[in-house]
Symmetry: D3
Subunit: 143 residues, 6 copies
């Protein structure tokens, strides 16, 4: 278990990969209720600037959260995100992974503090799909 | 269909509600791969500051995206988010809705521009769960 | 395998039961995209004439189709339905089963014909939830 | 919100599209429990008259229900359906939409009445997949 | 309903088929939480000895359990399994079925006994995917 | 990454927990196609010796596989299981975890060998639900 004290600015984590499939897009449309045709209508998407269906931005962020080794962290709460940008489309068959760097630590109380991760979501060819700043409230190591 | 030109700073949209259920949390843990015990381990959560299982922050944001009337908007792409904060826990049985206000419009090209929504995710008793700034690239009305 | 010739008007089939759960309603709302608040917003439903969330009519019909022993039938195609009526609400926790009676057989060609089932969907206390006339095109027994 | 009074015989609604995917068929087989080989066994389906796996009729109807703008209607209850016919197979990759016309209005009480929609489910090339008569009990506009 | 008395050593059951799809693998990874890259990372799997993504062994066993006609059996409880071996990879698009033979019956009490099935999970070309010995506690026929 | 060489007989792993929910049972019935009433019919289950719905044995094993830290292991293939026994019912709301001990290592070739884990699946009160012997083919550390 990694506690607030165990994170250092500059620490880097590179995750395993996950291929984003047609099933993922269908399942996320279903879960979220976001059936925008760009995601779920092949004919509509073919005529869009992307030329084919693309994954929801929120799908990509959600999958990214599960690629982080969260169960190894002493998380108190998900604090928030800053500056999330979807810099390229995630298409069916793209395999994404997360590259996260600790960019800030801020003690909040004796209970712990906020660790900031600068996340890049990148595909198997190195194309950036999204960038996001995640802020997680981590517990201090119990004394 | 609402185009870039049809949005005005100050426009407000209040969505229908969605009750966040145990099934939603299980399904989102499954989809995302985020099985942090605070979300899916009843015994662990009972001993946490929240006293019970809480929904993933990203679940709440994903559900919120589907509560917006996106299929009525002429969306080119989801541009990004700024300053997302999870200000209160979403528990099993909470019914959330979205209150969104247009706070900025920025023309990017003759193709359209970015409309910024200040989103509040609120439960049925008025408790704020999350705030987020959504930025969507909207198409201009075809001439 | 039951072929067209093997069905007789008056044959009755009583299925096993399936409890309709909150998860079923959430999953069906997701699959279908029908998030009407009567199904998925606890607060809204509490103020409706039903007093609580009820299952989608189409959920009930879909579950009923899976309660029929279809894989024992030599089905060519699902022909259609007549007079479907939702005669009572299906609530979370109701256990439904199907009572189906063959009411008509109509040879269409030497390939087979349409068997008509009068279906009642009934809960564990005998309350009728829905009635429907299913028409299935069954193959003739191979010669 | 559209109330009973707001519907007129002859009103037409044409929905957005949804591509029916292999994942949809798998998910619907799972949800409904209907694993007829024509839907989920590629080898069996290849030898059927359809030559490939086809979507469940009930899947098509369920998806159609979610393509209607139901959350804009003042629905009291789903009354029923008449004469549902599956006039052509829906295959993996077909993009369907709904064309619905109001064909009847029948006041039931001062609470509202039944609006009848004649629905056609059509793919992106104009092929009809199914026709169905939907009957929805709509609330009268509150006075 | 088949009771303990109704099973004979040497009885054979051959099931219908089910095509294992990409959606099944995604859904099972999600359900189980087993996101090993061999199952869900196309690029990783391409470099593995299998050359492509393969289904989880547990997915194959789970699907096999649903291919058995369990609802026709008077099951008291699933007793266990012996010697499960995954003898060949199950790839996307393989259509599997179960061939099960009763190899042992052991009375436990007047309530019933354990029936042992030797299961082979085989694809449409006759390739064995897995073998497993299933032991189910069946009820005696009520007197 | 843990390679064949890194496992020692006697190594013990204790996993995080996962609460088995009604949604899990519904989702697994759907995925597997095993709708035995003991799992999904509340009324039937109430009259069974268990007194309520219980999880599928295969659900419990599948969830257990996802509780193991598989993505930290250099897995070549899932070799098989021996002596799986379901020693107690898993009910809705039970929180299970896995206790696994390495009981055997067997080199197969210079590519690696089979590591045998004796798994106990235990709930939050220490009640054993299942025991299983898992055998995983692990790669040798690359030279």
């Amino acid at each position: 278990m990694k506690y607030f004290e165990d994170f250092e600015v500059g620490d880097v984590y590179v995750s395993r990969g996950r291929t984003i499939t047609e099933a993922d897009i269908v399942n996320f449309a279903a879960f979220s209720g976001d059936w925008y045709p760009l995601h779920v209508d092949k004919e509509y998407a073919a005529k869009s600037p992307f030329g084919e269906r693309i994954a929801h931005g929120m799908l990509v962020l959600s999958a990214a959260s599960g690629l982080m080794p969260l169960t190894d962290y002493a998380i108190v709460a998900f604090y928030g995100m800053d500056r999330v940008r979807f810099v390229g489309p995630t298409k069916i068959g793209d395999t994404i992974h997360v590259e996260a760097e600790v960019t800030e630590k801020k003690e909040k109380s004796e209970l712990g503090g906020v660790v900031t991760f600068q996340q890049k979501i990148v595909d198997h060819e190195g194309n950036e799909k999204a960038v996001a700043t995640f802020k997680i409230f981590m517990a201090s190591r119990p004394k």
